[in-house]
Symmetry: C2
Subunit: 199 residues, 2 copies
């Protein structure tokens, strides 16, 4: 008998964390469109092994990862393979937004929802703290790079219902957000759905 | 009385680690030319705070950092300011070379000197292990990015005696290598000098 997929609904400007087994697929769905979702993951057997932008960019020999590409750990092991991708534009350069980012970049001093706090709160039950959260795979985030290497944040290319499918290449602890920043979500923070499938 | 600067000579394909106080300058010198040097650093007071490519790229709004730019920590604090730079081309995208990188990229299975091992060996006395070593600031490394986001490794632009000066913005534990890979050093691994100055 087939199992129904597990679903998580991530409210705007929040996050969640869960475990997946090797071989399971994680589908990250942009519910309304133009919404970024930060994803980090750790080996379930040893949280000293975690997703690494530096290794992933190195082994894929490119900064824009899409279907067929592999996200590697800091120990050079495959963690996630991008099995499907209806958008094709994600970021792997920038750190998760944080209270300090809002202060430094936007001069916001009052408390602001942010991906770093949402990831660390969700991952605390797994023994992971804020200092251990690496540069996230910023799904649907549209960062344009000029020839001189300057970055600019554009609205995501994702539309309502667009998704990316990630196949787990090892047992994982995964943290996912619906990003809290305004600019990268075209000034409208909306929700993200996550669906875990057996295959 | 002026103190003479502290000097470290890093033999080809090796590394070292040391502490610096806030306000001190670290000069990384390419002794013969075309030699990459990977640098990582940690807050001396708390090794949970470390250099972060994701934060540095975000706050500088560019991927190519040079004189006047600041290297930030994972807690959004300035760690190093680039006070001088005679080259102007460094990389902050790629992980330090490792035994696994040589296997995956070059099919080398026998032991090969590598920056990750050289950094982790040098940093072990400071309580830092291999899993805690982040994406390094790859001084003098010349990574070209195509319009499509593909990366290619080119010979460094640094010539004999070229240097970068980094001013410590907090007390730091610093790891530095003379990189062990062939391609990024134009197929000739040479040494790196480090000079620590009071100002």
């Amino acid at each position: 008998m087939d199992h129904l997929p597990t679903r998580y609904h991530i409210e705007p400007q929040t996050g969640t964390a869960f475990t997946v087994d090797r071989g399971q697929h994680i589908r990250i769905i942009d519910v309304e469109g133009e919404q970024v979702s930060d994803l980090v993951c750790f080996a379930a057997q040893d949280i000293g092994e975690y997703i690494s932008s530096g290794h992933s960019i190195d082994y894929n020999q490119k900064i824009c990862l899409t279907a067929g590409d592999i996200l590697y750990s800091n120990r050079s092991n495959p963690m996630l393979t991008i099995a499907a991708d209806t958008v094709g534009k994600h970021d792997f350069l920038l750190a998760p937004c944080s209270q300090e980012m809002f202060r430094l970049t936007y001069d916001i001093t009052e408390p602001h929802p942010n991906c770093l706090d949402n990831l660390s709160r969700s991952l605390t039950p797994f023994g992971i703290n804020a200092s251990q959260i690496p540069t996230a795979f910023n799904i649907f985030m549209n960062v344009k790079l000029s020839e001189a290497g300057e970055i600019s944040i554009r609205p995501p290319l994702s539309k309502k219902g667009d998704f990316i499918d990630l196949r787990a290449e090892m047992d994982l602890i995964v943290g996912v957000t619906a990003c809290s920043a305004l600019k990268c979500n075209n000034y409208r923070c909306t929700s993200i759905d996550v669906e875990i499938n057996a295959t």
